[in-house]
């Protein structure tokens, strides 16, 4: 009941995750899943939080994604229930979909990305995500990841035993070269979570730089409320 794309930006080396799920607060599972200049990973199906750090630490020690995945397998008696994606800093990618992961499920591995999903309407969801992230090379990396989720949703999204399931939580996380994230947006519990996140992304994005700048030069900063009002006026003017 989750579909996810993890990727490395071929231009900038950024690493990111976009994930959408019927499960609440799916973004909480992205904790520890990304490390700058090391790699990105996620375990879903039956999630296993310890896998994030194990995989990233393994990559950091120089193991390939393939060797890392083998370590995750040997370390987990329920590996058949896990769905795992790993991409390293060179864009090398591997994935695993256990035999007991609920169907329709599958994985698509490309250059610098992995799409994985379970309880999908069909595997077309994965094809759509992969195609979007490969074709949409012009826009910003975070936008591409979110756009891949939208493509997955539009190709049918999630399906349970009684029919279609809503995406109730979603997260988009990108790390660049700092030891904290560059962007990390979430919806934790709301039907239509992907559309919510897209709306939030549009509102949040223009403010990000403002908050960085006001911290660097607080003496010259205009108050946050005034900035918000200015932004609103500008957006009204543009529309």
């Amino acid at each position: 009941m989750t579909y996810t794309i993890i990727a490395r930006c071929p231009r900038t080396g950024r690493l990111g995750i976009a994930t959408a799920s019927y499960t609440l607060a799916i973004g909480a599972y992205t904790d520890g899943a990304t490390r700058p200049n090391v790699g990105v990973t996620l375990t879903q199906g039956a999630p296993l939080p310890r896998n994030n750090r194990l995989a990233i630490n393994s990559l950091a020690q120089g193991c390939t994604p393939r060797l890392t995945l083998a370590a995750l397998e040997q370390n987990d008696e329920h590996f058949d229930y896990r769905q795992i994606a790993i991409v390293d800093r060179e864009g090398a990618a591997v994935a695993h979909t256990g035999a007991h992961v609920r169907k329709a499920s599958g994985q698509r591995i490309g250059s610098g990305f992995v799409a994985i999903g379970n309880m999908l309407a069909s595997e077309k969801v994965l094809d759509a995500m992969g195609a979007r992230v490969e074709s949409d090379t012009g826009s910003e990396f975070d936008d591409r990841l979110l756009s891949a989720l939208e493509a997955g949703r539009d190709a049918g999204g999630l399906k349970g035993s009684a029919g279609a399931l809503p995406e109730r939580s979603v997260a988009v996380v990108v790390w660049h070269n700092q030891d904290y994230s560059e962007i990390d947006l979430r919806v934790d519990f709301h039907d239509g979570a992907i559309a919510d996140l897209r709306r939030m992304y549009a509102d949040y994005k223009p403010t990000a730089e403002y908050y960085e700048e006001r911290a660097r030069h607080p003496r010259n900063a205009i108050p946050a409320m005034e900035f918000a009002d200015m932004l609103k006026k500008k957006q009204k003017g543009a529309s």
């Binding site: 609440l24 999630p47 896990r82 399931l165 994230s181 990390d184 660097r216």
Partner: protein
Amino acid sequence: MTYSIIARCPRTGRFGVGTTTFSLACGRRNESLRPNVGISKSQAFYLRRVDPFALNMLAQGHTPAHIAKLLEDDDPDYEYRQFGIIDRESNVFAHTGPKIGQWAGHQVGPYYAAYGNGLAGPETVEGIVAGFMSDPDAPLEERLMRGIEGGRDAGGQRFKGMHRPERSGWLRVVDRLDWPQIDLRVDMHDKTVAELRRIFEAFKRHDAYYQELSRNPQNAKPEEEVTCES
């Protein structure tokens, strides 16, 4: 324009943060907690590097008060910053710079700190503490949530004489593991605190199922058949 409560649970040693603000997605800055090391939660004119730095210093054995001194010595704009730091021995330090503007302040307790800026006044901070202290036997996450609700009910945020809505919020508690025990967010909502409470209540109903699904997936029933509604 933000108010927060940070605390180390005196019974369990767990660390937690509850925060809410006008700006969007405040929980995206989630580098504030490290299990068995401490908490550093900065705000107002926050620098992203402050919290990781403070946690690294805590891990090396520095006290919160000494870390504040290190931050002050290294920052020409220290008077614009607000933060709270707690270590694993429950030493607490809070700083509210005099140049933040609007009403800003903090209150420090034996294992917690409540603080905010762009607030209605000291009553918001008092409301946070009253909410947090309303049931000391409650789990830490519940106490933090009540702290935030107490701040809202006491008047919340104000700018130029007008009440300003909480638009994002974040609740996280860590225990001994590397990853959080609870980590919930509202990134954009016009009734953020009530929305965070709604998600918190729903998450509590699902939490045991999610843990079991992770540990013993062979026994788990399908999630769509899990009826966790109240």
